[in-house]
């Protein structure tokens, strides 16, 4: 009876409109209190959807793992996840289109061409996620911030980077009584010795990403720099850079054939697989693929530490891979949760990539690292996190450096020198190009 009275009383005294007002106010108030308490948006991602745009990884098995893991994460969290793969060279155009439309994917991968500094006003601030992951996994390696930090805030999550170590033929080196290419000078001596015997070395001089990465590794190991630490001023016009260019000219003349002017990112892989190369400086995919294409080469190819420059300095310029999330995403919390969970399984990803993906987090970079820690030939890669750098070193990876890389200014300086232009003249041209690009960005 009492109950029915109560029900009756409610029925008579509370109108539907009043009920909605009170209930709505309570929910909103409660949510606000919860948010204030947690200092973050509520994780209401169940029933939402998440679209991810990523590249087609050089190791197809990684894509299989990535798609499967993403689907499982979606199922577990009640989020409808869709993953799209496109060639990484198409990503800048896709990002421009999505930005213009204000719609598209929630999360976008950037590979080598890192656009965080261009789009940061339209990207989700990931500082909290970045800091949280850093605390959880012993901090990020020093180079991690460079491509994604703008005015002290972080606009992306670094996932992994791709190393380009020395891949050298131990059998050929031993047959010629040559020392392992632990320094650039030893690499040059080896190339000089073996070219005449039909085994030249090779580094691309052409308009490809490998050329952008490899020649920077050489110049930074020689002590040259690309920008000052602020990233605002180019610093390539230096004594060290002149030494680098003179060395590159000698390396080309003595140890390479003109085919390096025509190479794309896969040409050096084929060059190694053909059994002709004495050494190349490339990602380990070049070595991996020889396992099936040329087992004899695979057996005799060794992976070396980044060769040291004349002062003993080693800098390995790598291709960073980061994930960015659009501000227009309807599921920003889902994007943050997804990326956090993806970093949590970083080691699984390293296994799936067969050691190709290198970790940005210190704890994941501890020895022994998955796959490469167990392979005697690849163990040396575990020492690279300390010497990794990106474009613009020692400055950050800025839009002006991105433009310099997109226009292949640096490989063109090396090409000019290799083709006979004097070091001073080539460097004068290159410095002019750098200054012009930097000045335009400063004006903008």
């Amino acid at each position: 009876m009492g109950d029915s009275h109560l029900v009756q009383a409610r029925h008579t005294s509370v109108s539907r409109r009043r009920f909605l007002k009170v209930a709505g106010g309570s929910v909103a108030g409660g949510s606000l209190l919860t948010m204030l308490d947690a200092r973050q948006a509520p994780a209401q991602i169940k029933g939402t959807s998440l679209r991810i745009l990523t590249w087609s990884h050089f190791i197809p098995a990684y894509d299989v793992w990535f798609d499967k893991w993403s689907a499982q994460w979606g199922e577990k969290n009640g989020v409808k996840v869709r993953v799209d793969h496109i060639p990484h060279l198409e990503i800048p155009a896709r990002m421009a289109a999505e930005f213009a439309a204000g719609a598209g994917h929630d999360i976008i991968l950037n590979n080598a061409t890192i656009l965080a500094r261009l789009y940061y006003k339209s990207l989700i601030d990931m500082t909290d996620v970045y800091d949280g992951l850093g605390k959880k996994y012993g901090g990020w390696i020093p180079a991690a911030k460079s491509p994604i930090e703008v005015e002290g805030r972080i606009y992306g999550i670094p996932m992994y980077y791709i190393l380009l170590p020395m891949l050298w033929r131990k059998d050929l080196f031993e047959a010629n009584n040559l020392k392992a290419p632990d320094t650039w000078e030893l690499a040059r001596v080896a190339a000089r010795t073996m070219k005449s015997k039909g085994n030249p070395c090779g580094i691309a001089f052409s308009h490809c990403n490998d050329a952008n990465l490899n020649w920077r590794s050489l110049m930074f190991s020689f002590g040259a720099t690309e920008t000052d630490p602020s990233g605002d001023n180019p610093t390539i016009d230096s004594k060290e850079m002149r030494e680098t260019l003179a060395f590159a000219k000698a390396l080309f003349d003595e140890g390479m054939t003109p085919e390096v002017f025509s190479w794309d990112d896969a040409s050096d892989n084929r060059f190694l697989a053909s059994g002709i190369a004495s050494w190349i400086h490339d990602a380990i995919s070049a070595y991996r693929t020889t396992e099936s294409t040329n087992p004899a080469v695979f057996k005799n190819t060794y992976v070396g530490m980044e060769p040291a420059g004349p002062g003993g300095k080693r800098v390995s310029v790598s291709a960073p891979i980061v994930f960015l999330a659009w501000k227009f995403s309807k599921n920003p919390q889902g994007a943050k949760d997804y990326l956090t969970a993806l970093v949590d399984v970083d080691k699984e990803g390293m296994v799936a990539s067969t050691g190709y993906n290198m970790p940005f987090l210190n704890d994941n970079a501890k020895k022994p690292m998955p796959v490469i820690g167990a392979d005697p030939k690849l163990q040396v890669l575990q020492d690279f996190p300390k010497i990794v750098a990106f474009f613009g070193y020692p400055g950050p990876y800025t839009p002006q450096i991105q433009e310099v890389a997109n226009l292949f200014v640096l490989p063109d300086i090396f090409t000019k020198v290799a083709r006979g232009t004097s070091v001073d003249e080539a460097l004068k041209w290159g410095t002019g190009e750098y200054r012009r690009i930097f000045a335009k960005h400063k004006r903008a």
Partner: protein, 329 residues
């Protein structure tokens, strides 16, 4: 005056008034309801979709690119400021821009010459009667219909510095030495050869289009006219020069216009084969505009470089269209 107007009385007056009223109405409604206006309206109605297409898909993007070219727009910032001609000046200051401009013109001229020669030859071949003509006609358009990425990547393999099938064939017939020898061409590595290699792929892809346009023209020439010229003693080349060419001139001009636009704006072949390298030896304006505008994100400067194609195209367009008009086409 008509007979009826000369009559008098109330009936005649009202009839006159009615006639005047009808006349005024007819004048006001006359043109709108006339056959001419209906035909005009129908004509404009038929033209409307094409006009809307040109306006929306050509006019608006063109105006938008003009706006971008005079602004400091970049891919990540929705707010752009007016910068006047600064983007054009920035382009002119670049050595790479002038290399790209020179290469674009070379690309256009050399490709046009080869496409004309090959297209004309192919069109004449396809005019002949032979067994399997339909199959051959279908086959020759394959390069034009294949997705550009697929066909260019195939060429990339054929131009490979180590495994080039072209070099292998040339070596087998004894025209060049083996791999690693001085005479072994590095198709995409030697500056002039690299540009020629890119032009070669462009010619291969688009000369069937030239041939088809020419073929359409040739088949429209009445055989009686050709027979008459033959009877008058004209040689093959005289018939071609003095009979066929003037008759198909408008088709030639339209084909040439299309081809010029396609060639000058072709980004894919060079971008996929060399990305403008080595050392900017194959750099052309569309690739440079893409690298600066999209990859590096400077939309304003990218648009300014892309618009540099207009001064190249516009005079040629004007001359050709004036020529057509003079011929009453």
């Amino acid at each position: 005056m008509t007979g009826s107007s000369q009559t008098s009385g109330p009936d005649a007056t009202s009839a006159r008034a009615a006639a005047v009223s009808v006349g005024v109405d007819a004048r006001s409604r006359g043109w709108l309801g006339s056959q001419t206006s209906r035909r005009l309206a129908f004509g404009y109605l038929l033209l409307a979709p094409a006009s809307a297409y040109v306006l929306l898909l050509v006019g608006v993007p063109f105006l938008f690119s003009l706006y971008l070219a005079v602004s400091d727009a970049n891919v990540g910032d929705p707010v752009a400021n007016f910068v006047g001609l600064a983007n054009f000046r920035a382009a002119w200051e670049m050595e790479t821009f002038w290399i790209a401009l020179r290469n674009s013109v070379t690309f256009l001229v050399v490709a046009a010459v080869f496409k004309s020669l090959l297209g004309t030859s192919l069109a004449f071949l396809l005019l002949q009667e032979f067994k399997g003509k339909k199959l051959v006609r279908a086959l020759v358009v394959i390069p034009f219909t294949l997705p550009v990425a697929v066909s260019v990547l195939s060429w990339k393999w054929m131009y490979d510095s180590q495994f080039s099938v072209i070099n292998w064939a040339l070596h087998r017939v004894g025209l060049i030495g083996g791999y690693g020898s001085e005479s072994w061409p590095i198709w995409l590595g030697q500056p002039h050869l690299a540009l020629l290699a890119c032009i070669g792929v462009n010619v291969w892809r688009t000369f069937p289009f030239t041939a088809i346009v020419l073929l359409a023209g040739f088949t429209s020439v009445p055989t009686e006219v050709l027979d008459a010229a033959r009877v008058d003693g004209c040689s093959f080349f005289q018939r071609f020069r003095h009979v066929v060419t003037p008759m198909i001139f408008p088709i030639l001009i339209i084909g040439f216009l299309f081809d010029t636009v396609f060639t000058l704006s072709d980004l894919s072949v060079v971008y996929l084969l060399t990305a403008g390298g080595p050392g900017n030896a194959t750099q052309i304006l569309p690739v440079l505009a893409y690298q600066i505008g999209i990859q590096a994100g400077s939309l304003g400067r990218g648009a300014a470089i892309a618009l540099m194609l207009v001064p190249l195209l516009f005079p040629a367009l004007l001359v050709m269209l004036r020529n057509l008009k003079r011929r009453d086409w």
